[in-house]
């Protein structure tokens, strides 16, 4: 038996920031970790959004298969109502289950869409759960009571998420007090780390995964303090004070990493991973306003225009019912964050929408318009970097839950779904936004040292973990183990073993367990899809 494996998740971590923090001595342990391990970019999903991306990372399947496409998605193939994703929408087996059904223990802390928790041989405390539900949604049922008794200072309220605050922040709305925002995350990460440390000491598992999501939250709002390219020549005292507080957050993460590696022991594999990277965003595209100008969308009478000074993208809640006249609308975006555009088709989710036979030509026309006519009014440069159809971005049995089109903006930002006074607005302050290139840094026996590799995909993480654990890789996973990360000597002794396919998650009715047609998807189609996504040339 090999391992254990520790999956040390940093939501949104990006080399630009991590390398700078290492160079400045804020994360000295990470510097040593990288020097004695391998690193490579880890390419995210389309769009590079937290729920689909982490779910792909822990299932080894793409969003069209695992069924998590966004924070909010259609309740069913024929519903027009949007729900927050949970584990009940997850249609593929997770790494925790793959490991635990083979007789090894697994622990999972703070992963999105893990509530209600899968009943694995091990433990689960899901992330993105409001405090009232932390205990109910932890597994086993007595876990939280035990942690309360055993860990001094344990506080489920600090652990949990206040979604109202967080979602506003993620959507780029200004918060009043940067320092208390940072402190909130310092305290929360400490709670998660205390649990990780306690569990590693008292309930050793073959695989433990944890996500520290404050990295994402700080970078969204405080990118200007973290991107070394944006450092002012003469920083103000305010700038230095807030940056010092950001650095304190990362200094603590560095100590968590060091302590985790020590606790895991010399035989352990530690993988530092992120679900997506980060970059700056300087503008807001009001996509629904553009769609209106192009004749695709009609606002409901009295639909409010976002104030000029607003920087929000539209809180992530269903927007299409009250703001739009759906009887006259042929394309719209319903929730911020997904960069997805929906085309209502009559009879599919109610009676409004275009005739089914118009769909293909309307969509083609819209793709062309997005590419050619969605431009910066000053420079006439295209605002849309890329457009994917649903089949390209979400191929698989759950494809119908995803938007018809997904776009990448020229500055990597998320568009706003609000009614804007204009199509494009410059942000007064630079914010951080998601970027497709995340991180994968690995350290352990048989891994190369001090090597930088070609990019891997999120779907490659599960096979790599399984290989490090000496477990067979299910034949239906989409990625492959990152072989270049291991030394030739190690691979000689430990070549990856392939085994039977993953199993049906227990909450999924057998008749919904994968459409066989998709199962027969040949290698050619997989390659075509990866090419369409821009993953391979």
């Amino acid at each position: 038996m090999s391992g254990p494996v520790i999956l040390f998740g940093l939501d949104g971590a990006t080399y630009k920031v991590l390398d700078d923090l290492v160079a400045r001595g804020v994360m000295p342990y990470l510097g040593r970790f990288v020097a004695s391990g391998v690193r490579e970019p880890l390419m995210s999903t389309v769009p590079p959004l937290t729920p689909p991306a982490w779910t792909t990372l822990v299932t080894g399947r793409s969003p069209g298969y695992h069924g998590i496409t966004n924070f909010l998605q259609y309740e069913s193939d024929d519903s027009r109502y949007l729900r927050v994703v949970t584990s009940r929408e997850m249609c593929c087996e997770t790494i925790w289950s793959i490991v635990s059904r083979q007789g090894r223990r697994a622990g999972s802390l703070n992963f999105v869409a893990h509530n209600p928790p899968p009943k694995i041989n091990g433990y689960v405390i899901p992330g993105w759960v409001p405090w009232r539900w932390v205990k109910k949604y932890s597994h086993p049922a007595d876990l939280i009571d035990k942690l309360k008794r055993e860990i001094p200072g344990f506080d489920a309220k600090e652990l949990a998420m206040d979604l109202k605050v967080e979602q506003r922040a993620v959507a780029g709305e200004a918060i009043e007090d940067n320092e208390s925002w940072i402190d909130l995350h310092i305290h929360r990460e400490q709670q998660w780390f205390n649990i990780l440390r306690y569990q590693m000491k008292h309930d050793p598992c073959a695989l433990v995964g944890v996500v520290f999501d404050g990295v994402d939250k700080l970078q969204h709002l405080l990118w200007g303090y973290l991107d070394p390219d944006l450092e002012p020549e003469r920083p103000s005292e305010d700038f230095l004070r807030i940056r010092a507080r950001c650095w304190e957050y990362f200094r603590r993460l560095d100590r968590f990493l060091e302590e985790t590696v020590k606790l895991a022991g010399p035989d352990a594999y530690v993988f530092i991973v992120s679900d997506h990277g980060f970059a700056e965003s300087r503008e807001i595209l009001y996509i629904n306003t553009w769609l209106e100008q192009q004749g695709y969308l009609t606002w409901a009478p009295g639909a409010k225009v976002a104030p000029d000074d607003s920087q929000g993208l539209g809180v992530p809640q269903a927007y299409h019912f009250n703001a739009l006249d759906l009887t006259k609308t042929r394309a719209y975006a319903h929730s911020a964050g997904s960069n997805g555009i929906c085309i209502p088709v009559r009879g599919k989710r109610g009676e409004e929408g275009i005739a089914p036979e118009e769909y293909e030509s309307l969509r083609e026309g819209l793709v062309a318009a997005l590419r050619m006519r969605c431009v910066d009014p000053d420079t006439h440069e295209p605002l849309i970097g890329r457009v994917w159809t649903r089949e390209e971005a979400f191929f698989g049995p759950k494809m119908d839950l995803a938007p018809d089109l997904t776009v990448a903006l020229r500055d990597n930002g998320f568009f706003s779904v609000l009614r804007g006074g204009q199509v494009l607005k410059k942000r007064p302050v630079v914010v951080g936004t998601h970027h497709p290139e995340g991180v994968f840094i690995a350290h352990g026996p048989g891994l190369c040292m001090g090597v930088t590799l070609q990019p891997a995909q999120l779907v490659d993480v599960v096979p790599t973990i399984l290989c490090a654990l000496g477990l067979p890789i299910p034949e239906d996973l989409e990625g492959s183990m990152v072989t270049e990360a291991f030394t030739p000597e190690y691979l000689k002794e430990h070549s990856p073993v392939y085994g039977p396919a993953t199993v049906r998650p227990p909450h999924l009715p057998p008749d919904e367990w994968r459409d066989r047609a998709y199962e027969q998807e040949g290698e050619t189609e997989v390659l075509m899809r990866l090419r369409a996504l821009g993953y391979i040339e």
Binding site: R83, R88, P130, R132, W133, K135, K164, Q317, A318
Partner: protein, 100 residues
């Protein structure tokens, strides 16, 4: 086909809620009249989490987002346990019919 027994369903629902009362720092008795926002102090994300708990209990998907959105559109002041029960009666009966 037999209709669902409303009384049994009511007791089931009240048991689920009462078991969680302590986690929610709510000490009063939970009845059909209890409002999930006004009395239990829920935020909308708590209502979503309640939906998943109920789905898990009955081991099936229910159109909870539709239920919550429609309550919002009606500008309902609150959602009571009785509203939840009505919703469950309709949805569970419908899915029973679909299955048989």
């Amino acid at each position: 086909m037999k209709e669902l027994d409303r009384l049994a369903l009511r007791n089931d629902l009240l048991t689920i809620l009462t078991e969680l009362r302590e986690d929610w720092e709510y000490s009063d008795e939970i009845t059909e009249q209890t409002g999930i926002f006004g009395d239990l102090g829920f935020e909308s994300i708590d209502a979503v989490a309640l939906g998943s708990a109920i789905e898990e209990h009955f081991d099936q998907s229910l159109p909870f987002a539709e239920f919550l959105t429609k309550a919002g559109e009606r500008q309902a002041k609150d959602i009571t346990v009785r509203d939840l029960l009505d919703f469950l009666m309709v949805s569970l009966n419908r899915s029973k019919e679909r299955r048989s």
